[in-house]
């Protein structure tokens, strides 16, 4: 996945308009980074990688970049 695709995926998960997010954005600044978005991210990781995203990993995500990095592995 390119960085643009990852950001687009996250915008889709967070129900944001295309082009809203940039890599340096803090997730906590978005009210859309809510419990439902976190469940959607868990679902996406399971679908793409077949693994379960842990609550600790989710807590460690501070910026959009952190999530993009996770999808690198």
């Amino acid at each position: 996945m390119t960085i643009e695709e990852k950001i687009a995926m996250l915008e889709e998960i967070m129900d944001l308009d295309e082009g809203t997010l940039s890599v340096d954005d803090n997730l906590e600044d978005y009210e859309e980074w809510d419990s439902l978005s976190k469940l959607s991210l868990i679902a996406e990781v399971k679908k793409q990688f077949g693994k379960v995203l842990s609550t600790n990993s989710i807590r460690s995500f501070k910026t959009v970049q952190d999530i993009c990095d996770y999808f690198e592995d």
Binding site: S35, L36, L39, I42, A43, K46, K47, I58
Partner: protein
């Protein structure tokens, strides 16, 4: 525990819900329109049936049992076992099952008690009643009834309200008979994990607490793996299964679960859109909601799985005579048990 019963058949399944419907969109002013629409989209839950004030788990349970007994022409004195699975008993002591025994006029020879299980109650309850019937006479009869109420909420805290918007009220009963001519074995795989007892939790007098992320991870990992293992242990492939009926937790979870254990989405029946997450009864509610489709064939190979509080998860696989699956009906009765001496 994995096992099989070769001498038990499911004779009937009945479901009742209260007639009052609440539309989840009506909560937009309390949790915000954006969040409300997102929740409905991801959970798939648009409407739910809720109890009238004062209506109890036992009102729904009684209605489900009495309708099922009437449909099957089961006389009260022919019932050997009654198990009531609920998280909302009427009393601390005794089991609410005794109150149901009285209302249903079951005999003193009947074994009755409550089981405190949540969203695994339909499947774990079928295993429990099937086990109890092993000691019964040939033709012995058992009733499992699963019921939890939900009420219209005045809650204003958005996080708590979002949880409450998941749940709908229902009561379902299953009639099981000990028989030598069972049309199919009943396979089960029943598992528990006390290490996660706090994942869904309520202390006496306290609030309902759910670790949504933890439960989601549990479902798409532990439950999904066990459904796949269960098919392997029985020796069937997903082609052998006509329908899946899973606990109606929410739509995103079910779709992810389907993906994770190779379930074709068109075989996975749902009832959550109009009835919500109906707790322990939900796999049974779903079968009753889809009874017309199921009745296109005389029998159906059904894999049910309930999972939740405990943590507890249990799968059942069997062939069901579809003539015994009755259409969903309404119950608005309230029995004034507080006025009894």
């Amino acid at each position: 525990m994995f096992g099989v019963f070769n001498n038990i058949s499911i004779e009937g399944i009945q479901t009742v819900v209260p007639s009052r419907i609440v539309n989840n969109l009506d909560f937009a002013d309390r949790i915000g329109e954006r969040r409300c629409k997102k929740q409905i989209r991801l959970t798939g839950i648009k409407e739910r049936h809720v109890c009238a004030p004062g209506q109890t788990s036992a009102d729904l349970a009684y209605a489900a049992c009495s309708k099922l007994m009437k449909n099957l022409r089961w006389e009260p004195d022919s019932v050997d076992v009654l198990v009531f699975a609920t998280q909302n008993p009427l009393f601390i002591i005794p089991s609410t099952a005794f109150f149901l025994q009285k209302r249903l006029h079951l005999s003193q020879d009947c074994v009755v008690f409550d089981v405190n299980l949540g969203c695994s109650a339909a499947t774990a309850g079928i295993q429990t009643v099937s086990s109890l019937l092993q000691g019964a006479r040939p033709g012995g009869r058992g009733l499992l009834v699963v019921s939890d109420p939900t009420y219209y909420t005045e809650e204003t805290n958005p996080d708590e309200l979002a949880d409450q918007m998941l749940f709908g009220a229902a009561g379902s009963a299953v009639a099981l008979e000990k028989t030598e001519a069972s049309i199919s074995p009943i396979y089960f795989k029943n598992k528990s994990d006390g290490n996660r007892y706090r994942a869904i939790f309520r202390a006496p007098g306290g609030k309902f607490i759910m670790d949504g992320e933890g439960v989601f991870q549990f479902a798409i990992n532990d439950v999904a793996n066990d459904i796949a293992d269960f098919r392997g242990e029985i020796g069937i492939s997903t082609d052998d299964v006509d329908y899946y009926s899973f606990h109606q937790a929410q739509a995103l979870l079910l779709s992810t679960l389907d993906d994770a254990c190779g379930v074709e989405s068109e075989k996975e029946l749902r009832s959550l859109e109009k009835y919500g997450n109906t707790n322990g009864s939900s796999p049974l509610v779903t079968l009753c909601v889809h009874e017309q489709e199921l009745k296109k064939n005389e029998t159906a190979n059904i894999l049910m799985c309930g999972f939740g509080v405990g943590l507890s998860w249990c799968s059942i696989y069997t062939t069901i005579k579809t003539s015994g699956i009755y259409p969903l009906s309404y119950c608005d009765d309230i029995y004034p048990w507080r006025e009894e001496n």
